[in-house]
């Protein structure tokens, strides 16, 4: 039996005055890739950010690897180390001087009080290994401001895998890439998933990709509309409930 990596119970999150996510419950097992789908404004990013403790929740519980996420969003540091998160748009100030090596290294660090030179060799070795695995070793000394969109995504994957993780949370991770870049990104992601045994929770707008790759789908439109295998959750009836009947007719025509 697979271990439960993430368990969300009756989660409700408010954005200003309205419930952006209401009474959502689901769980995620190790090695399983789950996609969250739904129209714009359905609360997908809100859900993910509440699971990570970035947004406060109104009610409900979140358990990651059996440990509760506190109401203020704090989680035992040892559990935090097991999660990696890639935001929808990794927008940063390009004037910040930072190399790829430094960015990937931040994924390795435990981010408490620590001497900057602690475990220097081990850290450097882990950074190099991670960059080799995403085929970006040649970028190690490059400044992150000079990376292309595809290179940035690969470097961010190295940031995720520089330490062993159990849960990867992606918010439309390939956003901003062209068709080829997106396909390369998913190829690399699923290769790494097989190697690392990651459980993945990802927000996606690409229903064809979800159908091809994901094990489970959660349909969300503020409340949880349905969940199950892609065949079940992405059936015409369920899609029509999530996106509206117009959308389903459009998809059938194309």
């Amino acid at each position: 039996m697979r271990e439960i990596v993430l368990s969300v119970e009756q989660l409700t999150v408010y954005r200003e005055t309205y419930a952006a996510v209401q009474d959502v419950s689901f769980s995620l097992e190790s090695g399983i890739d789950t996609a969250i789908v739904g129209p714009n404004g359905a609360g997908k990013s809100t859900l993910v950010q509440a699971i990570l403790g970035i947004l406060p929740r109104q009610s409900g519980d979140v358990f990651i690897l059996g440990q509760p996420l506190s109401c203020r969003g704090s989680l035992a540091p040892a559990i935090r180390q097991q999660i990696a998160y890639l935001p929808q748009n990794f927008l940063f100030d390009r004037r910040i001087p930072m190399t790829v090596e430094e960015l990937v290294g931040l994924g390795w660090d435990k981010l408490g009080f620590q001497l900057p030179w602690k475990d220097h060799r081990k850290r450097r070795h882990a950074i190099r290994e991670a960059l080799v695995r995403v085929d970006a070793a040649h970028l190690m000394h490059k400044m992150i401001s000079g990376l292309s969109g595809g290179e940035t995504k690969r470097v961010l994957l190295a940031y995720c895998l520089v330490r062993p993780r159990r849960l990867l949370i992606l918010d439309e991770a390939p956003a901003g890439l062209d068709v080829r870049g997106e396909s390369e990104f998913y190829q690399l992601l699923y290769q790494l998933k097989r190697e690392q045994g990651w459980a993945i929770l990802q927000i996606s707008h690409d229903l064809d990709m979800v159908r091809r790759h994901c094990d489970r789908v959660i349909c969300l439109n503020r409340t949880l509309l349905c969940q199950g295998t892609p065949e079940v959750a992405l059936s015409s009836d369920n899609l029509s409930a999530a996106y509206g009947s117009e959308f389903v007719r459009y998809r059938h025509r194309h």
């Binding site: 990570l52 403790g53 935090r80 940063f92 910040i96 930072m98 430094e102 660090d109 981010l111 001497l115």
Partner: protein, 277 residues
């Protein structure tokens, strides 16, 4: 030669030595915290804090407490108050800071009109007097430098991630508000302690200019922070020497030196290109 002897003799005087050491300590602290301040777009915060400090000083004078004693608690309260306001209101940071500092300045001038003629003179408040730095000031500055180094040193990676991408840092369990408050408090202490030497008008230069020069020279974040602190100290030493050599006001001489260093770093790529050409 006689000029050099005169400068050497000048730096044998205890008040000049204290001024030099005070300048170095301020340069190191300002440069170190300044490197994060400019990336987090808080440069205007240090400027506003400097200007508003005049209010703290004038209140001190009105109630008969030494301005140096009032400055640090005032700076910390001001910083915490501004941080609270910035988090609570939906206004733009620079607009809000402008409201706060111009009104503080206005109230300070009104309060000063009740105090009558301040014997230290308004000039010293505005531009500082690094030659009046006492041993106790140096002890405070030294302790604050240690506090800044320990804080930045031990949380360097957290500060880096927080500066680069806040949501990524929160997802890793970093408490943004705690880190932000700690940084702002340290920055306000550095600005507060530097005002006596450099004055309310020039204090933000110590935070902003060396950091900008270091940014132009750096490829890695760690080098950038170290270089920023180094350039802060270097400009203090060079500025004090120039001030002694040409008998110029000390604080402004240091700031002018910082500007020269900054302009040089801006021109370096062109100079290198010329050299290769």
């Amino acid at each position: 030669m006689t000029e050099l002897t005169r400068i050497i003799e000048l730096f044998q005087l205890p008040f000049m030595q204290r001024a030099l050491l005070g300048g170095i300590l301020t340069g190191l602290m300002g440069g170190m915290l300044g490197s994060f301040t400019i990336l987090r777009q808080l440069s205007f915060f240090s400027d506003a804090l400097g200007h508003s400090a005049l209010l703290g000083i004038s209140i001190g004078l009105l109630i008969g407490i030494n301005p140096s004693v009032v400055l640090l608690p005032f700076a910390v309260c001001f910083a915490l108050g501004v941080t609270y306001l910035l988090e609570r209101t939906r206004l733009w940071t620079d607009a809000l800071l402008n409201i706060i500092y111009s009104s503080s300045l206005a109230i300070a001038v009104i309060v000063l009109s009740f105090v009558g003629q301040y014997k230290g003179g308004l000039n010293n408040l505005l531009f500082g007097d690094i030659l009046a730095v006492r041993e106790l000031d140096l002890v405070f500055s030294g302790l604050l430098l240690i506090a800044c180094t320990v804080f930045i040193g031990l949380t360097l990676r957290t500060q880096m991630l927080l500066t680069l991408h806040e949501p990524l840092a929160i997802a890793r369990g970093v408490s943004v508000s705690a880190q932000r408050t700690a940084f702002i408090v340290l920055l306000s202490l550095v600005v507060g302690i530097s005002i006596k030497a450099i004055g309310v008008l020039l204090v933000s230069a110590f935070v902003v200019i060396p950091a900008c020069a270091a940014r132009l020279l750096s490829r890695t974040f760690t080098n950038y922070v170290v270089l920023s602190a180094g350039l802060g100290a270097l400009s203090a030493v060079a500025g004090m020497l120039i001030s002694a050599a040409f008998n110029l006001p000390s604080g402004p001489s240091i700031v002018a030196t910082q500007l020269v260093i900054f302009l040089t770093t801006m021109a370096l790529p062109q100079l290198r290109a010329l050299g290769h050409g």
